[in-house]
Amino acid sequence: MHIPDGILPAQVCAAGYAITGLATWYSLRQINSRPDPTAEIPKASLLTAAFFVASSIYIPVPPASVHLILNGLLGVMLGYFAFPAILIGLFFQALVIGHGGITTLGVNAAMMGIPAMLAYHIFQSRHTLGKVLTEPTRTGLFAFLGGTLGLGIAALIFLALIIFNIPAELDAGAERAAILALSIAHVPLALIEGLFTAMLVLFVRRVKPELLEG
């Protein structure tokens, strides 16, 4: 779900870089306001590499398989480090496997990073429910919401960008129908991503709860 070079016009690429610059600046400001920002850099860096590698895990859905994006999970676990982590991960993907692109790096980072930051805030709001639900249920439920919405919103942005920028003469009705059809097709993927995120977060909560404190 990366937009390659050559698809989008230069204005959209430039706007993507502007949004990414703003989001990176905001994330770095939040990180620098912590008592010891350097202490978390190794953790965030190695987890960035681990997320990049983990996104190559395929979920078997016979006769095919789907691969995960994990942007919601990144937000849930890395907090404000999620946006820089996604930017770096996409930079590596463009370098190592030519997946995505250099001119579209800003657009791709904004498309995946902003929903990741949203997923972080959704996950943090699990404490607001107080004692309405038990702690593991709350953690699992909000991780599921973070994972599902993280991918769901990114998929919507991706589809809108592709459909509004590719066809030369496609009429508005056809564009709306295509977005609707493709969005519906992405719902099961978002649910799988949410389920995977909830399972992983509950596993980490049992084995290494301090990883969820970011």
């Binding site: 190794p42 190695l46 590499a49 997320f51 190559s56 078997p60 030519g98 590719i166």
Partner: protein, 264 residues
């Protein structure tokens, strides 16, 4: 995902290899954006010609480009393959139910032309500049320290973590993972749980390793506020570097101006 392959740098004795990294990065990025502005089909051969010319100057083998274009090329092809058959009113030819349309064909040529040209420039940049030199050039151009440190550390451990995942997946396979009967279009919840635990284990192992890495870095003075020397790209750009940068930037400006003049 091919994360097992290392640096994309290929050593050669070309002018592009000798080009100052900072000037090369800025010039090629500007040219990539100039390519992204192209909308007139008449400019496609010029754009491709510039990319091919620079690639020939770089001395990189054709196989290098061929290998790296195949994966993203398939992705772009999947996105645009239907355009010449579905978009536009001007019919160029008809074979039974297949209709080739001019507007769709032009849009496809434009997207594929821009994609090939931009990607070729990207591979010239990476094939002629070692990753660490590229990062140093980015730092000297103002990349924030946190981003530079994170990029370096992630890159340092990326391949180690990829090898760790491969070992874990092999161990799962040897213990029978994925051998059972699978129903079509169904996600096996047990398999999903096991894969979530696999990814969770990978994250936990990476986290534990990061704690050891941090302690080692602290012992070497990391985070004590020691002022780091500004990355010295000691090599002051040579006249050749300035000349190349000037030529590439002039080509970029020329393309943008031509696009503006040709636009109806």
């Amino acid at each position: 995902m091919g994360v097992a392959s290392h640096d994309t740098y290929l050593h050669r004795e070309s002018v592009i290899h000798r080009w100052s990294p900072r000037l090369k990065l800025v010039s090629l990025l500007v040219l990539m954006f100039a390519f992204a502005t192209v909308r007139q089909p008449i400019l496609i051969p010029w754009m491709l010609g510039l990319a091919v010319g620079l690639y020939l100057l770089s001395g990189l083998p054709l196989a290098f480009l061929g290998q790296r274009l195949s994966y993203p090329g398939l992705f772009v092809l999947a996105l645009v393959v239907l355009l010449p058959l579905t978009v536009g009113d001007t019919v160029l030819g008809q074979w039974g139910w297949l209709t080739l349309r001019q507007e769709g064909l032009e849009a496809t040529l434009l997207i594929v032309g821009r994609f090939l040209s931009i990607l070729t420039l990207g591979f010239i940049l990476l094939g002629t500049t070692p990753f660490l030199t590229l990062l140093q050039a980015m730092r000297s151009l103002g990349l924030p320290t946190i981003l530079a440190d994170m990029t370096l550390l992630s890159y340092r451990y990326l391949f180690e973590i990829a090898a760790m995942l491969a070992t874990m997946q092999q161990a799962m396979g040897l213990r029978g993972f994925g051998q059972g009967r699978q129903r079509w279009l169904r996600v096996n919840s047990q398999a999903l749980q096991q894969l979530a635990m696999l990814a969770g284990n990978l994250l936990i192992r990476s986290y534990e390793q990061s704690e050891r890495v941090y302690k080692a870095m602290r012992l070497r003075g990391y985070g004590y506020g020691v002022k780091r020397p500004k990355p010295s790209l000691a090599d002051q750009p040579s006249p050749l570097s300035w000349g190349l940068a000037g030529g590439v930037l002039a080509a970029a400006v020329g393309l943008v101006v031509a696009e503006g003049l040709l636009r109806p």
